[in-house]
Structure formats: C-alpha cells, structure tokens
Amino acid sequence: MESFFSRYRNALVLITVLLAQVIGLAVQVRRPDPTAPDKGGVRLIRSWVVNVVSPPEMLLHGIGKGIRSVWSNYIDLIHVRKQNQDLKAELDQVRLEEDSLAEDARQGQRLQALLAFKEKYIYKTVAAQVIGTSGTEQSHVLLIDKGSDDGLKPDMPVITPDGIVGKTRDVFRHTSQVLEISDATSGAGVILEKTRIRGVLSGDSWGQPEIVNVSPDDRIQRGEPVLTSGGDAIYPRGLAVGTVQRIVPQPEGTLVNVLIKPAANLSRLEEVLVITATGNQMPDQMQQDLSEAEQKASDILAERLPSRTDASAPADQQGNSQPDTADGAVTPPGKPPQALHPDHFTPSDTPPATDLVPGQKITNAESAAFTSQNEDHADHSPASGTESKPASKPSGAAAKPKPKPAAPPSQQNPPAPHHHPPAAPAAPQDGSPSTPPQTASPQGGI
C-alpha cells in the first residue's frame, strides 16, 4: 500500500487537487444567480487577491498620473490659448442648443408627470480611477480604486461622460470590480434611438457589445444611436451606449444580432463615474442649470443679434425711430407712416363716429380739415411720439405695451388708437361702455 502511494504520489496529488477544485466549481455555479456577487469563502479569496494586487497598482497608477499631470499642466501647453477660444465658442453654441432643448425637456417632464412615468435622475456620482483589469480576454472586468467605504454597492452603474461602461460586481472596502458591458455574461436593457427597438445588450466572444435576438428590421441603419432603456433597473434611462456598427444574422433561426460600437472607449479607461444615487425628481442643481442656460443663451443671442441701437442700421426715413428707454425696454411703434395720398381709408383720416351725421357723406374738404386739426393736436400734445399712454405716466411704464380692456364696437371704430381726436370720449379703464352704441361705416355712411 505504501509503495502504491509512493509510486503514484505525483498523480494522486494532481487528482486530489483537481478533484477539490472541481467540487469547488460545482458549489460556486450551483448558486441561483451565477452573475451575482460572490459570498463566503470565494469572496474572501477574491478579496485577498485584489487587496494584494491593488496597492502596487494604485501606486504605479498614481506615479503615472503625476508624471502625466506635470507634462500636461506645465510643459505641453502649446496651442492652449487657441484651444481655449475654440472651446468658448463651442460653449456658446452648446448653451444656445441647450436653451432650445430646455423647453422640450420641461414639456417632456410635464407629459411624463401626466402619464405618471417614473423618470430616474442621477443624484450622486463617485469618481473613481481605473487601476487594473482582469488581464485575460475571457473576463472583461475592471478594477477601480473606490469601494464600500466610498458608498459603493454591487450592481451600481458605471459610466463616463461618453457613455456607459458597466456595473459594479464585487465591492471590497477600498476597491471594486466593474463588469464591462462587453463581457459575455453582462446584460443591459437598451433601445435604438430612432426606431425605438428594444433589446438586451451583451458582449460577444470577441468582447464587442451586441444587441442579441433582434427581429430583422430594415429601419435599423448603421450609426443609429443606442441608449439605455431603463428596463433593467440598473442603468438610468437615456444614457448613451454607442452606435449601431453592423447587423449579423444568427447562424440558427431568423433573428439577428446588432453589433454596437460603444460610446465609451472601453479599451482606454482611466476615470469613471459610479452612480450611487438616483431619484424620480429632477435635482435642484439640474433645474438651476436649465434656468441659467436659458438666461445665458438669451444673453448670447442679444450679443449676436443686431442691437436696437446698432449704428450700422439704416436710418428711419419716416422719422419714427423710437429711443430706447432707460431700463432697456423697447417702446412700441408710435404711429404708422403717413400716406402720400390720403383717402378715406387712411388711418387718422376719418372723423370719430360722434361727429358723424347719419346719411351724410364725408367730403374731401371735411376730411382735410379733420386731418389738419388732428395734426395740430398731436403737435401740442406733451406725449407726442410716445402716445397711447397718459402724459402723467412715467416713460418706463409707458414703454411696456399694456393690454387695453376690450372696448365696445363704437369705441373701436377710431382706426388709430394713438390719435384720439379731442372730441372723442376717453375709453373707460374698466371697459364699460360710456356712450350708447352707435354704428357707423368707415366711410361715415350708415
């Protein structure tokens, strides 16, 4: 017996080691959800390995980052000024676009509120440095330098400003593993932006994300954006995932897989954001940003559009140009341009209805007399040029157009509200008729 063990000692050790590991594998894969984070001894072993490997990686990563920082912040500053100007111009453009989108966003929120739709907003993120990978092609896992001490938990979405990266899997005290969307065992609910086709994103054998088991559809075009759908209860809805690269028919069956070019550069990740808190209400900061964006956009527009006091603007030949008021408000136009050949239809050329006699025609002489009388009154009026307001009103208040109360037809007849003839009764401020209704044609006939 002793000779048997001594003779086959090597083989027996190998068999024992293999058998123990096979049993260990069977225990691990027997869990209800093999993709869930580990527990017990497996987690302990994994934690040991990560804790041994990660400190030197953090150190090396920190040294590399310091060198890069010195180079980029103090040495490599060529074209920075030009780049700054370009970025400012781009920022102005983005603010204008944001302004145009802000109203759509608010409308969308109102509609979602009406439909009791639960939108998820990102409340809090934790920035983390990527310090390592699994090092194998079969496992697309990243190692980041933030863990449970920083508020991280398993199954938290990990993103970059460009798009989603993956989700946290095993979270240790100071480090965490992130399962990338390119891994074959990952999964994320996505939606094609234009065609609104939903699907499940997973990694293929080469580590490229793909939407699996999609019904063939001619509308799916290369370059179409892909967003998270929010259906997986992990990734918030609307985050960028990537763009459609090509469609690959499945070898068996009639379905196809849509290969996705990820928006985030998964092969060159240095910093990521872990979403640690989401909610249904738009954060205060986001609302404030929207308001500020609208204000800034209007300022930019005011700067870009021709000014009201633009010196290069053509001179007003009619002499009706209105000066700006002190508070910058625009005064409404004073009076319409004077006609070269006045007739009965010319504004301010028709006597008021109270002066008209039923059945009497207005002659050209009467019309001319009314016109000269009207002009004399206008010349002596202290509010000339800014009429339509009482003279006692301050100019600032008068500059703002104030809606008038609805007047009865008899008082709406004077065609030029800015030129009230002296004989005409003043329109009541409360809108009640002060004179009995009379009907008069513009020509003065009945």
């Binding site: 594998l25 497996v42 390995v49 041994v52 490997v53 030197p56 990563h61 496992s139 891994d183 990740l269």
Partner: protein, 173 residues
C-alpha cells in the same frame, strides 16, 4: 545543444530564494492586470502561465509544480469574475505536465523552451475551453489562428523572460 537531457548535470534541479517564489508570481499578476489596462493587446500574453511553466521546468517536481500552478491559477481567477478554479485547474495540469517533461527534456535550450511554452499555451486554452464551454456552459471563444498567434507571442516573450529569471536561480545537486 540537444533538446533531450543527456547528463545528470542537465537534469539537476534548480531552486530559488523564497522571496522569488512569492514576489515573481505577484509581480506577474500585477503586471498582467496593470499593463492590460494601458496596452490593448497585452491580454494576449499570460504572464502567470509563463511563471508557472518556468518554475515547473526548473524545479522538475510535479507535486510542487502542481501546487504552485494551483495557487497562481486561483489568484488569477480572483482578478476575474469567473468562478474560482478555472485557471486553477488549468495551471495545475500545466504545472504537472511541465515538471514531468522537464525531467526528460533539456529545458536549458531556448528552442525547447520555445516549443514547450507554445505547446502549454495551446494546452491551457484547450483546458479552459473544456471547462468553461462544456463543464460550466459559459460562452468561450475559440478561434484557431488567434490561439496560434497567442501561443507564438507567449513563446517568444517566455524565452526572454526565462533568460531573465535564470539570473536569480541557484543549482542544486
């Protein structure tokens, strides 16, 4: 130089200082994890496999090679999200085979090392494929040309790495 061992001198086992046994595998794991982040195709290399093979063919003790391979493999599993034991099983088998072959083959020869590493890289991929695809039912990509290329890269790098590691060993008779 002959590929087969022909003298007792050639089959003499080599040993290393204890710190080398600990530091080199950890360094291999750390570099594998770190450099794969910055060099996109660095994951073609398998530094833990090269270290396992090197210890096995220099120590020429199947039992210790099996145990060393198991520990390195399980540590490599710890960096992935796979179940612990996939790399552990494959590297235990590789360690055992390499130590067994090391007794019969002149492992000081660079050509022999090149062929051994090439062979063991392909063998490990085959074991991983069997474990993941057929035992665990998980997806596993097997592309012939890609695997041959990977084996060739590992063999070339392994020959250089083995020459560097040779500097730290001492001969035992």
């Amino acid at each position: 130089m002959a590929l087969m061992a022909s003298s007792r001198h050639e089959v003499g086992a080599k040993s290393f200082p204890l710190v080398i046994y600990i530091v080199v595998p950890l360094l291999a794991l750390g570099l594998q994890s770190l450099l794969s982040l910055h060099l996109s195709r660095f994951d073609l290399l398998d530094l833990p496999l090269l270290v396992t093979v090197y210890y096995a063919i220099t120590r020429r003790e199947p039992v210790s090679a099996t145990l060393v391979g198991t520990v390195i493999g399980i540590a490599q599993d710890g960096l992935t999200h796979h179940a612990l034991g996939i790399f552990g099983i494959s590297k235990a088998v590789i360690g055992y085979m390499a130590a067994s072959l090391g007794v019969r083959v002149d492992t000081e020869n660079h050509g022999a090392r090149l062929l051994l590493i090439f062979f063991f890289t392909l063998t490990q991929t085959l074991i991983l494929w069997l474990l993941q695809r057929h035992m665990l039912g998980q997806p596993f990509a097997w592309h012939g040309i890609h695997e041959v290329l990977r084996a060739a890269v590992n063999a070339l790098v392994g020959v250089i790495l083995f020459a560097v590691l040779d500097l730290s060993r001492r001969t035992e008779y």
